[in-house]
Symmetry: C2
Subunit: 200 residues, 2 copies
């Protein structure tokens, strides 16, 4: 048997699961929950051995940063979970910026917390079958096993550079970004079907 | 204790580690090993509880595919582990293509195989501290625990679209791509230092 120093404390895990569920219902109430992922999270809370902690159904952002993968040094100046229109970018482009402006399309990302390694492994198999090829276990500890379910859909487009250069093909960027966003949402539907049929 | 149905068979694991080491030395001999990562792999083979299976020090590729994240449907038409020059792209751009041409900068990716979860967890902590924020456990089985160490550096640039459109800013793309490639190589140096001092 593989043994770990730390043990998932199931009683404590069940309490955390209940808390996460209450928080989710409150967030739905307030309108914080991204509507394209609400049903999937509800489905997950109908399962016994897993819950979700954070999730995103896919989005388009515009960030001001030297590199598009930066988090701490980046300013998010636009965020939308649905397809965008060209005129939403034009005012952004005209504003002053510090580093570079990147439009970033991200596919869905969901963090699951599983009660044991068997469930975590099942989840990884389901996720990969649904096209979430970059999924993996982020941590294993007494609070549960955190599984990140993520696809390869993450594409930045340079909108504006430090020297004032502006991308000449904004309509093309908008069109391709929306196409990619939809690809991500389709993967989410596939994941929903696979999860629905899973014994986890 | 967290228990798994499947157990890492340590004796079998040690044999696989030896095989991987022989294969690595043969690859070095033939010239298959990406020179920017050779020293790191040698360092890992000096450790007791871990070995590497596949690795890349970071590279720039040009692929012909609808979406840059595709693997099976993509044709790789250029690949280099060092900075590129503008003239290397011009002949590629002139050729016919099927879908879209993407230039993709990828940071380093290393797959480790750890003998136990304690080692896998240590490795994840080291990797994240060195800036490999997207690292995770890919699988847990009798053959070992596979840990993928990967940063957020993965950036595609559209070079040519289906309708014949060609990016107008090729010199800028080359310059930014090379800058990103170097960022990745620097993270690799940091990982080397952290691994050197680690008891794994």
């Amino acid at each position: 048997m593989i043994e770990l120093e730390e043990q998932v404390d199931e009683k404590f895990w069940r309490i955390r699961r209940e808390e996460a569920y209450k928080r989710f219902l409150e967030d739905v109430e307030i309108g914080y929950v991204d509507r394209d992922i609400k049903d999937l999270i509800l489905l997950v809370f109908s399962k016994k051995n897993v819950f979700t902690t954070s999730s995103c159904s896919g989005r388009i952002t515009v960030v001001d940063s030297t590199y598009p993968w930066q988090r701490d040094e980046a300013f998010v100046i636009f965020k939308k979970h649905e397809p965008i229109q060209l005129n939403e970018l034009t005012s952004i482009i005209e504003q002053r910026h510090m580093h570079r402006l990147w439009l970033i399309v991200s596919g869905p990302i969901i963090h699951f917390n599983a009660v044991d390694l068997t469930t975590a492994n099942k989840l990884l198999i389901i996720a990969r079958s649904a096209g979430f090829k970059h999924s993996g276990i982020l941590s294993i500890g007494s609070g549960g096993i955190v599984v990140e379910v993520v696809s390869g859909i993450w594409v930045p487009f340079l909108l504006k550079d430090r020297d004032g250069y502006v991308a000449s093909d904004l309509p093309r960027i908008v069109s391709i970004a929306n196409e990619m966003l939809r690809e991500g949402k389709q993967k989410l539907e596939k994941l929903f079907k696979f999860l629905r049929d899973a014994d986890i």
